[in-house]
């Protein structure tokens, strides 16, 4: 699910760049082909999430991403949100983060909203006939500027993901080790260990994703 969406998103961004940056357009050309690729990636982008809705575990994750508790506000506010405390031989994060931290939640919400807006404005540009010129120009405006923001946020998401080996392993295998979970998602560890004795396991969709740049901005502040 995550990987299919990610692949399509990168497909959209790569084709967008070649359509849009004059230097790349000059180098690559083939506008007709790149445009078709962009449209196919774009219209396919929401499909993995829609298919995922059939899965109960995925719906539960969506709900976790949607709801913000007091610990999320605390996580966003605190400069030392990554700090750990040694408890019984295990380094545990000081903020009781659940399966997703507030940055991951903001990233997920932003990405969902961006996909919908890009899909809507992109459909208007792909099928422009019913729309008056001003509305089309408005759609181009939104599609262009939101593209820049999406590119920055996606780059930030990748930046944090690629620096976190535990999270990468989790995304690749669907499993994370206990020490990593205790450090980054202590409340999730407690909940899982309360429900099941033993190691932390999640479904493939169940592995936590790295935080997005919203959290990054907070942390750097």
């Amino acid at each position: 699910m995550h990987h299919a969406t990610a692949l399509l998103m990168l497909g959209c961004l790569a084709t967008a760049l070649t359509l849009y940056v004059p230097g790349l357009s000059t180098a690559v050309g083939r506008r007709d082909l790149i445009r078709s690729l962009h449209l196919w990636c774009g219209f396919a982008l929401p499909v993995p999430v829609l298919l995922g809705l059939a899965s109960r575990a995925f719906r539960a994750d969506l709900r976790r991403l949607n709801r913000f508790g007091p610990h999320d506000m605390e996580w966003l506010r605190r400069a030392d949100r990554r700090a750990v405390r040694r408890v019984g031989g295990l380094e545990r994060g000081v903020v009781p983060v659940g399966k997703f931290n507030a940055g991951q939640k903001l990233n997920a919400a932003f990405t969902a909203g961006a996909i919908l807006v890009m899909l809507g404005t992109g459909a208007m540009l792909a099928f422009p006939d019913p729309w008056p010129v001003d509305v089309r120009t408005g759609a181009t405006f939104v599609h262009d500027w939101l593209f820049l923001i999406v590119a920055v946020v996606t780059a930030g998401h990748l930046w944090y993901a690629l620096r976190d080996r535990g999270a990468l392993l989790g995304m690749a295998t669907g499993r994370v080790d206990r020490a990593w979970a205790a450090r980054h998602h202590p409340a999730w560890l407690d909940a899982v260990e309360g429900a099941v004795e033993g190691a932390v396991e999640g479904a493939v969709e169940g592995a936590p994703t790295p935080p997005g740049p919203a959290s990054a901005a907070e942390r750097d502040a």
């Binding site: 949607n66 709801r67 913000f68 939640k105 006939d129 010129v133 120009t137």
Partner: protein
């Protein structure tokens, strides 16, 4: 979906995620509604800043490069020639010096793309197409003129009446210098009153024909008579 939810801290709390998504949808709709006037202001603000931003920011003033092939071969202006043939009395080819020896026409017009962007006050110079047609003599059977890029990939055409307009040029200069390769040099067509796709780049051949043969984008659904503001479902101000 409740029974797999082992993390009891999460299900309660404020639905911030949903609010962000709905907020973005609202902002997106508002952006579509007011984007046209906002974009104009952004372009005006950014256009004096110029080149460094034009590659990155959306429509910060300037041309966008749309190519339909992977690469266009470069032509050396010293050896470059365009051929003029078909239904003409004296078929021949013209080098840059031959074009320069014909009467020169200058005009400054906005350049409007059918996808919406517009570049204000572009200065062009070259040979007005009617002057070039007079130099070869048009047959009485002629009804239209067909243009081909020198890589053979792109074609365009005009009716003979359109081709006889004084604001249709074989352009050899743009903004006071030679037409650069990326802008379609050494020679390109400029059909000033029509959308940009009519202004064929990398002009290599002109053929006078007995009927209009639709060009590259016209076979893909664009209007053959591409008057700015009166075609392709658009109402831009005429150029």
């Amino acid at each position: 979906m409740d029974d797999v939810d082992v993390d009891d801290r999460e299900p309660s709390g404020t639905p911030v995620g949903r609010r962000i998504v709905l907020g973005m949808l609202g902002l997106g709709a508002a952006g579509v509604a007011v984007g046209a006037s906002l974009q104009d202001r952004v372009s005006e603000t950014l256009s004096p800043i110029g080149a460094p931003f034009q590659d990155v920011l959306p429509a910060a003033g300037g041309f966008r490069y749309y190519s339909v092939v992977d690469e266009v071969p470069r032509r050396d202006p010293r050896s470059h020639r365009i051929t003029v043939g078909g239904l003409v009395e004296r078929p021949r080819s013209f080098g840059m010096a031959d074009l320069a020896a014909l009467p020169q026409t200058r005009l400054t017009r906005d350049f409007q793309c059918v996808t919406g962007w517009r570049v204000r006050d572009v200065a062009w110079a070259g040979v007005a197409l009617p002057d070039l047609l007079d130099a070869v003599g048009v047959s009485p059977r002629a009804r239209a003129v067909r243009f081909e890029s020198f890589d053979g990939a792109y074609t365009e055409s005009l009716t003979l009446e359109q081709a006889r307009r004084r604001d249709v040029l074989v352009a050899t200069q743009m903004q006071g210098g030679p037409v650069s390769h990326d802008h379609g040099g050494p020679t390109r067509l400029l059909v000033a009153p029509m959308y940009g796709y009519k202004s064929l780049k990398w002009l290599g051949g002109i053929e006078v024909t007995d009927r209009v043969i639709p060009g590259y984008w016209e076979r893909r659904g664009y209007d053959v008579d591409a008057w700015v503001g009166r075609s392709n479902g658009r109402d831009d101000a005429p150029t």
